[in-house]
């Protein structure tokens, strides 16, 4: 399959009052056309920053290096006005918190139509028809009423559906979903995930799904990247990752997923997530790793293909820098 998005050696630092936070530490992965790529990791590991960097929405105190190739063009070199034509048209994003992602003082109509008119060049009437069609497509049965509503009059699930409808309004080739179900209750979560799957098969866009929930990953993703403290530590097809996790961090993550069928105590990872102001040298996971060797403190392991399609960044599995 063709690669739609390629992130190549992305480094992001934030200048803060307390020093420079090294938030992304050489992140590389790619998303193919039509696939759902999951990015998992704990809070603060850099998932959302990665998402925002693709759309160039990071705050001005961020320093970025590396390449983000979208359809072969480096987004980091594009002028701002060209980026504005990509945002919401070629690449759309839905955010974690549907309760605050819509503007409270404007009707849904205003917010949706502004975007549709902008990207599709439609008249107000045509845009309204398009919006109604989109709202129906995301399972909202009374589009007229939804368009007339203010966000506070709608439930969280409805708002997230509206966000999805907005995201799909220009038929984007990439949908970034940043924890799209985290703020919703479980039944609504399932509906939203199924909706994304269903729409993907109809409109054939790729999805970058960011989550900390391995259950969500197992349910919808084709491939998964595991992030730890600003690094991608493992990339594999979903089934392969769950059956044969290589990186000690991935193994640790999977061992803390409770299985209701087997009654055994969970084994939590020892230690806690390092500060990104002063991250550990070498492999950033080494202070928490039960297999850590001397080399892990010295040299950062690079991501390499251990078995076909299964990449890992760990000295336990050899690789170029492990020699």
């Amino acid at each position: 399959m063709k690669k739609l998005l390629e992130i190549d050696n992305l480094y992001i630092n934030f200048k803060t009052l307390w020093g420079v936070a090294k938030v992304l530490n050489g992140v590389s992965f790619d998303i193919r056309e039509g696939e759902i790529f999951g990015l998992v990791g704990e809070t603060g590991c850099g998932k959302s920053v990665t998402a925002l960097s693709i759309l160039r929405l990071l705050p001005p105190n961020a320093e970025i290096s590396g390449r983000i190739l979208f359809k072969g063009e480096n987004l980091l070199e594009k002028p701002e006005d060209e980026m504005r034509r990509i945002r919401g048209k070629e690449i759309s994003i839905i955010f974690q918190d549907p309760m605050t992602s819509l503007n409270p003082l404007f009707r849904v109509r205003d917010q949706m139509l502004d975007i549709i008119e902008l990207h599709e060049g439609l008249s107000r009437e045509e845009a309204e028809k398009h919006a109604e069609k989109l709202l129906k497509a995301v399972g909202l049965s009374d589009p007229e009423r939804i368009l007339n509503s203010y966000p506070h009059e709608l439930s969280g699930g409805m708002r997230q559906r509206i966000m999805i409808a907005m995201a799909l309004s220009s038929n984007p080739s990439l949908l970034i979903a940043d924890e799209p179900t985290t703020a919703l209750d479980v039944t609504i979560q399932k509906q939203i995930l199924e909706l994304i799957l269903d729409l993907r098969s109809r409109y054939n866009f790729s999805v970058l799904l960011i989550t900390h929930d391995l259950g969500v990953v197992a349910e919808v993703c084709d491939r998964v990247g595991v992030m730890y403290a600003g690094n991608i530590v493992e990339v594999a097809p979903t089934e392969e990752l769950f059956e044969n996790p290589l990186h000690p961090y991935t193994q640790g993550l999977l061992s803390v997923v409770p299985d209701p069928r087997i009654k055994k105590p969970l084994k939590p990872l020892r230690g806690s997530v390092p500060s990104l102001l002063n991250p550990p040298g070498g492999c950033r996971f080494h202070p928490r790793c039960i297999y850590a060797k001397d080399i892990c403190e010295e040299i950062k392991p690079e991501l390499h293909e251990y078995s076909p399609g299964h990449f890992v960044a760990c000295h336990l599995y050899g690789g170029e820098s492990g020699d």
Binding site: G88, I93, T100, P104, I115, H119, H152
Partner: protein, 339 residues
């Protein structure tokens, strides 16, 4: 509660507020030792004349009865006769009120069209030279005394540049050559309606300096409030959404963010409007503006209690109505506010 019911409810409350204020001011003005009768008859009075005036003004009646007289005529739209000018207070007030109202309208308009964009750009370009400059400007506007600022403007634009008139509402010569047919009492409006262009231009010229002087304070406040609210709002998730969908910056700042940031500035405009109606007497004095503040100051100094009460009624009514209007606009702006 429905919109109309709410407005009626507030208007009923307003009547109580205004009656309350009138009561308090009436008794205070009578408790202060002074002799309105002596003022009424003028210089070198005979004791008989003063006694006659006292009868005429009901000053010999018990205080409560005097208050009854006053309320009775107030209900009939009669505010009494000014002791100082011997004109009906209502007539005095009408011309003073329109003069001040016209001035404040222009001043607040200036404050809004300068303060809001300045606040927005200050927030957008936070900590840039533009922001620093606008903050210095804003803090000067709030802290420099208006009368001092007015005098400086007169020095520059009248004395040195000779561009604008020193004081007054309209030039005497212009008024003699092109008599203005007064309809509403707002000179700009009346001259426009009647097509009296020379008076319009002259009145506008006279208006500029006092209006700019009065605008300084609200401009400073509005700039600061819009700036700090905008900084907050620009960090909200829904603004990030707007960026993420490629909306143009102007639309994000002035449509999606500003509506969320405007409320405190709106209240400032309302309150400074009401305050300036009476509170601008120093500026009115400097620019010899025949307005309400000046009228109120003279009325108080000469113990002209019918005039003082009249001014009080106007001020109280203005506060009540402007607060009501501001509240109603807030409701219109934010659908989450329930009446």
């Amino acid at each position: 509660m429905k919109f109309r019911e709410y407005v009626i409810y507030r208007l009923v409350l307003a009547v109580f507020v205004i009656v309350g204020v009138v009561t308090v001011v009436f008794f205070i003005s009578r408790v202060i030792p002074s002799d309105p009768a002596a003022l009424w008859v003028g210089a070198h009075p005979t004791p008989e004349a003063i006694e006659k005036a006292r009868e005429q003004l009901h000053l010999n009646d018990p205080l409560l009865k005097q208050f009854g007289y006053y309320l009775w005529s107030l209900i009939h739209g009669d505010l009494g006769v000014s002791i100082r000018t011997h004109n009906p207070v209502a007539q005095d007030l009408k011309s003073a009120f329109t003069a001040t109202f016209e001035l404040i309208l222009v001043a607040e308009f200036l404050a809004v069209i300068v303060g809001i964009p300045l606040g927005v750009y200050s927030a957008v370009k936070k900590d840039s030279w533009l922001d620093n400059l606008s903050r210095i400007f804003a803090i000067s506007g709030v802290s420099l005394p208006a009368f001092w600022f007015g005098i400086v403007l007169q020095l520059i634009f009248f004395k040195h540049l000779g561009l604008l008139p020193l004081a007054g509402r309209v030039g005497t010569v212009v008024m003699l050559e092109h008599p203005l047919h007064v309809i509403t009492g707002f000179y700009l409006l009346d001259s426009l309606i009647t097509g009296n262009f020379p008076v319009f231009v002259d009145a506008l010229k006279h208006l500029i300096l006092p209006a700019v002087t009065l605008a300084m304070y609200p401009v400073g406040l509005i700039t600061r409030q819009v700036r700090s609210m905008m900084i907050e709002v620009l960090n909200e998730n829904y603004i990030r959404t707007a960026w993420a969908y490629g909306l143009p910056p102007k639309k994000i700042y002035f449509k999606y963010a500003l509506k969320n940031a405007i409320a405190p500035a709106l209240i400032t405009v309302g309150l400074s409007f009401a305050y300036t109606l009476i509170g601008a007497f120093l500026v009115e004095l400097i620019f010899n503006w025949p307005g309400l503040g000046r009228y109120a100051a003279y009325a108080i100094m000469s113990m002209d209690y019918p005039a003082v009460l009249g001014v009080t009624i106007i001020a109280a009514t203005a506060y009540v109505f402007i607060n009501l209007i501001v509240d109603l606009i807030q409701v219109r702006l934010d659908p989450r506010i329930k009446l």
